[in-house]
Symmetry: C2
Subunit: 543 residues, 2 copies
DNA sequence: CTGTGGGCGGCGAGCCGACAA
DNA sequence: TTGTCGGCTCGCCGCCCACAG
C-alpha cells in the first residue's frame, strides 16, 4: 500500500467558528475512506491520530451545491484545542493499513516588523556575512541572549529548568528523585489544594495525560486583562472595539478584546517564538507579558555546552517555512512564486514534546531516574543520528528541523545567525538568495565543527547539562542525558530523515507515488518530503 | 464617616452561571448607596475597586418577591475573572468618602486528605512539639524543600526567579535592565510573533494592564487534556462523566471534564498552595501538572536568607481560615461552632501581587532599576514593620497574614512548622487547641529571633537575594532589595495592622461601630478586624 | 430573609446551502 | 472547485420570579 497525504493551509473559513473544514476534493478522495456517493448526503466518521497518538474524530460529509467534502463535527474542537488559525496548515496521511494520521504546522506569523531588520533583502556576499553577523549581534534576537561580559553559561539552559518541566508531569502515586536532592512524593503533591481536587476526581486519568498537554495559567481577573482565559479563536477581520475599559462591566467587552489577541505562540519549543522562548531559557527577565501561554519550556535542551571545557554548543537551528497550499509542499525543491517563503526568526528548540514524553518522561515516571542511562540510545541508527546533526541536510534542503552542530569559537563566542524574511514580495528570487545565504552561513559556522558532527554520542551525553558542574551540583542537580537521548531517539522514531527509506509516522515514503504531484526523482523527493514532514512533525505544538 | 463593611461566603447560587449575587439585606443597606424604594424595581450601578485599584461594575437591583438585593450584571464577570467558587468569600467596604471597595478571600479547599497528617487533632504538649517538628520534618511539605546535604541556599528563592516575573510585565516601549546582564527592549519584544499581534492591536492598552493580571498558559490540544482552557466556573454537584476519552469528539466532554477540575490555586503567592508554591520557588522538580494556573511566583521573596552568613530565614507564615458566614468574621475572637475552622496547610508566600505591582514593579517600569533603593522604605512606619514581623500578633489573633520571623538554628536547620486541620468536627474545642498550639509553637520558634525582629531594615535589605553571591553574580544577577521593600511597604499601605489606627484600604477601622456585630472592645476588635481583613486582602488572588 | 430552581430571552457555536471567484 | 456568507437551530448564559426553608 502507498501512503496518501495531503496538506492544506487553513483558510479563514476553515478556522472560523462559523463552520467546518473544507477538504479539497482530490485530497479527500485520496486520503479518506471512500463515501457512498449514491446517498443524498454521504458521510462518515473519521478518526485520525496525531503525532502523540491522540485520536481526533471528525465527521466527514459530502454535501452542498456544488458538492464538496467537509469536516464538520469535531473539527472545531480540533481547531480550538490545537489553537489553529488561518495560515496554519493541517496534514492528513493515510498509511497502508488505512490508519489515518494527522499533523499540523503553524504559520510562522512573524511579519516583517519594522523592528526586525531584513538582512536577507540584500544580496549577501561573503564579506557581508560578517556585517550580517555584526548587525545581528546588535539587533537580532540573539543579542539579548548573549552576554558579552559573562562566560558562556548564560546562554546555557540550566539543567534544573528542564527538570522543573519534567517534574510537572508527575503522576499520582509516583515519586520523583532528581539527582539526589529533592524527593517529591504523591503525598506531598496531595498537600496541594489543587491536587486534592484532582485526586478526588481524576486520579486514574492522570496517566493518560501527556505532560505536554497541560496548560499553564495563572488565574486572571482584571477586567482589562489582556489574555483570553480560554482558547477562543481569533476573529479575523473583527477589530477590537471599546478601547476604554477602565470600568468594564460587560463580559463581552473583555472577551472581544481578548479574542482579538491571539497568543498562540511559544510552547515547549514547538512553536516559533523568536527571542522570548530562547531568553526564557537563559534565565531571568526575558519573559514578557505576552509570552504567557507556555511553560518554562524545554527549548534549551540542546542549547547547552558540553562539559566544562569543551565550549561546544549544540544549537537546534530552525527556519520556518510559510505554508504551501494543498499538496504543493511535496514539490519542495520547486519554489514557486507565492507558494513558499522563508519566514524565519531562527530559534532554538529542544526535543519535541512528544519525544520527551515518549522517551524521557516515561523513564522518570516509571520510578526513579538515575543520572546515566543509555539504553534508549542503543535503539538509534548511528547513521541517522549523524545526519540529523549534520548541517548539510539543513542547508541543501532547508529542512527546518535539522540540527546544526556548532562549535563555539574562542572567547568571545560569535553571535548566532538570524534569518528572517522581509515582506513577501519576490519570493522566488529571495528564496534562492536565502538558500545561498544559508548555505554560506552554515559552512561558515560549521567549518570547524563539521568534522566532529559524527561524534555525537559523547557530545550529546552531557548536552543537557549546562556546564559549571560544581555550581549545579551545589544546587543539588546532576547532569542527566535523559532528554538528549530522547530527543534523538524521538526524531529517529518519528521521522527518519534521509535514510534510504524515509518514513513519516512510521510509514515509508520512498516508494510509489506520494500524493498527487510528486517530483520525478523518487528518492530525493521522498527525502525532501520527509524533511517537510519532519518539519511538520516537529513543528506541531504538542497539544 | 464610618466604614461600612460586609463579608459573605458565596453560595452555590452566587457562583453558579444561573444567576447573580444575593446581597444580604443589612449588608446592602449598610454598604451600598440607598435605593429609591418607591420605584417598582429600584436599581443602580455600583462601582467597587479591588485591592489593585481595578474597578468592577455591578448592577445592584432590589426586586423579587419577597424583595431582595441582588447584584446581577457584572457579577458573573467578576466571578469568572476572579475564579470564585462557592465557599469563597467576598467583602465589600464603603469608606467615608462613599467609595466602595471590594475584596475576596478564597476558601482554603484543603480537605483533610488521608495523606495529610492531622497533627492538630491531638493535644500537643510542650514535648510533643518536638515530635510534631520531627514528624513534619519527615512528612510535611517542607521536607521537600530542605536539602540536608546542601547548604541553606536550596531553600532560598533565587533572585532571578523574581526578576523573571518582573520581566513579564514589560510594556511596549520600555527597556529592561536587570542587573547589568540582560537588556530587553520593545524592539526585541516585537520580534516575538505574539508580540507582533499584540502590537498591532493593543499597544496603547498595555500600560493599563497590571502585570499580575496576565494569565500564563501554554497552548493545549489533546482531547483528553485536563485543564480547562477557559475560566469556566466549576459546576457544583455535577460529577465528571464519561471517563473514557481516548477518542473524544464532543467538545462538551472535554469541557465538562475540565470544569469538574478546578485549579483555582496558586497564583503569585496570593493563593493557598501548600507545598508546590514553595517548591516552585526553590527550584526544580517540585512543580506539578496540577499546578499549572500560575506563574513562577514571587512567593519566595521572603523565603530568603539574609546575607551570606547570618543564616536567618524570613518566613511568611500563613494559616488559612475557613470562611465565616456573613459578617461573623468580625467576631474574630469568638470562635463559634461551625463558624470558623483552621484549615491550614501552612505555606510561604511573598508579597502580595499588588504590593509588588504597586511598588516594586513600577520602579522597574519607570526605567532602570538600580540595585539599592531605599526611598520607598522611608514611607513605612517603623512600628508597623516591627509588628508585622512579630509573631505575637499572629498567634494571639491567629491573623493569617502575619509574618513570622524565624532565626534558623545552627546546621542542620530545623524544618518548618506544618499546621493543618483534620476533619472539621468539634471546631470549637479544636480551634482553641490550635490557638494554644500555635502560640506555643510560635514562642518556641521565635524565642531566639523575636529580639531581632525589630531590626528588619538591614535584614530585609538583602532578603530577596539568596546568598551565594558569587554564584549568582556569575549568572549575571545582582541582589535587588526591590521586592523586599515593596512587600513591606505594600503591607503597610494596604493594611496597617495593630497600629492605633487600623486601616483597611486606607480607611480607618478603629472608631465607631464597624459592620453589624462588632465586639465590645473597639480597639481590640478593630485590630482583629484589621487582621481579618488583612487576611482577606493578602489572600486575594491577584486577578 | 435568602438559597434554589424554573421560565425564558439573547447570543454565539456550528450545520446547512447559496453564490461567486 | 472551494472560500465566504446568510439562514437556521440549539444550547448555554444570565435576568426574572416562585417557592421554600
Amino acid at each position: 500500500m502507498i501512503p496518501h497525504v495531503f496538506c492544506k493551509t487553513l483558510t479563514a473559513s476553515d478556522t472560523s467558528t462559523h463552520g467546518g473544514f473544507s477538504v479539497p476534493r482530490r485530497a479527500a478522495e485520496d486520503c479518506f475512506s471512500p463515501l457512498d456517493y449514491k446517498q443524498q448526503r454521504p458521510s462518515q466518521e473519521l478518526v485520525a491520530k496525531d503525532l502523540h497518538g491522540i485520536e481526533w474524530q471528525f465527521r466527514h460529509i459530502y454535501r452542498g451545491q456544488p458538492r464538496r467534502h467537509l469536516l464538520t463535527t469535531g473539527w472545531s474542537a480540533f481547531v480550538n484545542k490545537k489553537k489553529l488559525a488561518s495560515e496554519d496548515a493541517v496534514l492528513f496521511l493515510r498509511g497502508g493499513d488505512g490508519e489515518l494520521r494527522l499533523g499540523i504546522r503553524r504559520a510562522s506569523q512573524v511579519k516583517s516588523g519594522a523592528s526586525i531588520p531584513s538582512f536577507l533583502d540584500q544580496q549577501l556576499s561573503a564579506s557581508s556575512i560578517a556585517s550580517v553577523l555584526n548587525a545581528i549581534s546588535t539587533r537580532s534576537i540573539f543579542n539579548i541572549c548573549y552576554n558579552p561580559r559573562g562566560n558562556s553559561s548564560e546562554i546555557i539552559v540550566p539543567y534544573h529548568k528542564f527538570t522543573k518541566s519534567v517534574a510537572r508531569y508527575s503522576s499520582s502515586g509516583m515519586s520523583f528523585y532528581i539527582a539526589g536532592a529533592l524527593v517529591l512524593t504523591a503525598e506531598h503533591l496531595f498537600a496541594s489544594p489543587a491536587v486534592v481536587r484532582y485526586n478526588e476526581l481524576q486520579v486514574n486519568r492522570l496517566s493518560r495525560v501527556s505532560p505536554w498537554e497541560i496548560e499553564a495559567s495563572g488565574s486572571m481577573s482584571a477586567p482589562g486583562s489582556f489574555v483570553v482565559p480560554g482558547a477562543k479563536r481569533i476573529r479575523v477581520g473583527v477589530p477590537a472595539t471599546k478601547p476604554d475599559f477602565q470600568v468594564m462591566r460587560d463580559t463581552n467587552e473583555v472577551s472581544d478584546f481578548g479574542e482579538s489577541l491571539r497568543f498562540q505562540k511559544v510552547l515547549q519549543g514547538q512553536e516559533i517564538s523568536g527571542i522570548s522562548t530562547l531568553c526564557a531559557e537563559i534565565d531571568a527577565p526575558s519573559q514578557h507579558p505576552l509570552e504567557m501561554r507556555r511553560f518554562p519550556s524545554q527549548n534549551g535542551s540542546r542549547i547547552s555546552s558540553v562539559g566544562n571545557s569543551s565550549r561546544r554548543l549544540h544549537v537546534d537551528f530552525e527556519n520556518y517555512f510559510k505554508g504551501t497550499r494543498s499538496c504543493e509542499s511535496f514539490q519542495f525543491h520547486k519554489v514557486l512564486p507565492g507558494q513558499e517563503a522563508i519566514s524565519t526568526v531562527p530559534h532554538v528548540r529542544g526535543p519535541t514534546a512528544n519525544q520527551v514524553h515518549e522517551n524521557g518522561i516515561n523513564n522518570v515516571m516509571n520510578g526513579f531516574t538515575l543520572p546515566t542511562r543509555g539504553n534508549s540510545w542503543s535503539t538509534l541508527t548511528p547513521g541517522c543520528n549523524t545526519r540529523m546533526y549534520s548541517s548539510a541536510a539543513l542547508i541543501q534542503t532547508s529542512s527546518p528541523s535539522s540540527v546544526l552542530l556548532y562549535q563555539q569559537a574562542s572567547s568571545p563566542p560569535p553571535p548566532f545567525q538570524a534569518l528572517h524574511s522581509g515582506n513577501e514580495k519576490n519570493l522566488e528570487t529571495r528564496n534562492q538568495d536565502k538558500f545561498h545565504v544559508s548555505e554560506r552561513l552554515a559552512r561558515k559556522l560549521t567549518s570547524c565543527s563539521s568534522s566532529e558532527s559524527a561524534d555525537t554520542r559523547e557530545d550529546l551525553q552531557g548536552c543537557l547539562y549546562t556546564g559549571g558542574s560544581e555550581e549545579h551540583n551545589q544546587m543539588g542537580f546532576l547532569p542527566l542525558p535523559l532528554s538528549t537521548h530522547s530527543s534523538l531517539r524521538g526524531n529517529a522514531n518519528f521521522v527518519s530523515m534521509c535514510e534510504s527509506s524515509c518514513k513519516l509516522f512510521g510509514i515509508p515514503l520512498t516508494e510509489g507515488n506520494v500524493g498527487t504531484s510528486m517530483g520525478n526523482r523518487p528518492t530525493e523527493s521522498a527525502c525532501a518530503y520527509g524533511h517537510e514532514n519532519a518539519f511538520l512533525a516537529c513543528n506541531e505544538r504538542q497539544l
